[in-house]
Symmetry: C2
Subunit: 150 residues, 2 copies
DNA sequence: AATCAATGGTTACAATTGTAACTTAATTCA
DNA sequence: TGAATTAAGTTACAATTGTAACCATTGATT
């Protein structure tokens, strides 16, 4: 016999809390790169993944950032059109395409890294060291739920 | 002089971690009510807010769940068309409209509450009590950031 | 009272998104 | 070999979304 009640306290419901938080924080951060670089969220995410990890395929970007493959496909097209990344076919498996930031892409990337670090510093600067550590532990716990595996 | 590095570790970047988590958890949960009740995310959120808090205006739903007002407007219209909620104009200020679940709406609501609680129980069942407490503390910390105030 | 600004809520339109179908290429296995 | 699956990535189309403009009403200022 599971205990349940007839109302759901949203303030205690994990999916609600997470999406409320994530939407307000991500939106806030998105304003920066949207205004300054005219980038969309999927574009920023793809750029950030390539900047950090070097050469990746679209599929790898999907897996790493949990984005739908059509989103990634479009973001990659757009970055490629602006000349921020270079596509190179794999010769042994001609379905896959390796993606890599171009020189321009790298310059944009480092600007955006600065912006991101500044943003995060501002967030963290209002938190005590122990609060930061608690948040970190919690995120690790959530990231290791079965749900988020494989 | 702020210390920065030339790459951003996404696994340490708060907006990234939160949205990756939130998207995968919310999506997983959305599958349930989408499949069983044909509801969208904004509809579920509006329903859940009304079920928990009783009578609300659209604006209050926006504030509570951090949704865009057009999203709320459409969700409310849709719930109203299905007869799950009742709209009542305020007589002293005829711009505002009070929203309240109907009898049918309440029945759907309690079904969904059960679903939600089961979902959350499954999530929590894989976590130790101290892990749960860490997650709770962390979410409270994040929810109280300036960003999420007012 | 008359104008002007602000608020609750809706809607038109354009942009973004997801679903499903598709193309091309590789793999399996009969 | 060759038919049947599977994978990477794109695209057409429909659904969802956000932006901005819009009503209707109220509140503030004169």
């Amino acid at each position: 016999m599971k205990k349940t009640s007839d109302t759901l306290i949203l303030e205690e419901f994990l999916p609600f809390r997470l999406s409320r938080l994530s939407e307000s924080i991500s939106l806030k951060f998105a304003q920066h790169y949207k205004r300054e670089y005219g980038m969309t969220r999927p574009e920023w995410r793809a750029l950030a993944a390539l900047g950090q990890l070097g050469t990746l395929t679209s599929t790898q970007i999907c897996q790493h950032s949990n984005m739908h493959k059509t989103k990634v496909s479009r973001a990659v097209q757009s970055l490629s059109k602006r000349g921020w990344l270079i596509r190179k076919r794999d010769d042994s498996d001609r379905r896959v395409e390796y993606l890599q930031l171009s020189a321009i892409g790298l310059r944009r990337y480092s600007k955006l890294v600065e912006l991101a670090q500044q943003f995060q510093n501002e967030l963290l600067s209002t938190m005590s060291p122990s609060a930061i550590s608690t948040v970190n532990k919690a995120l690790l716990i959530l990231e290791n739920l079965e749900l988020n595996k494989d």
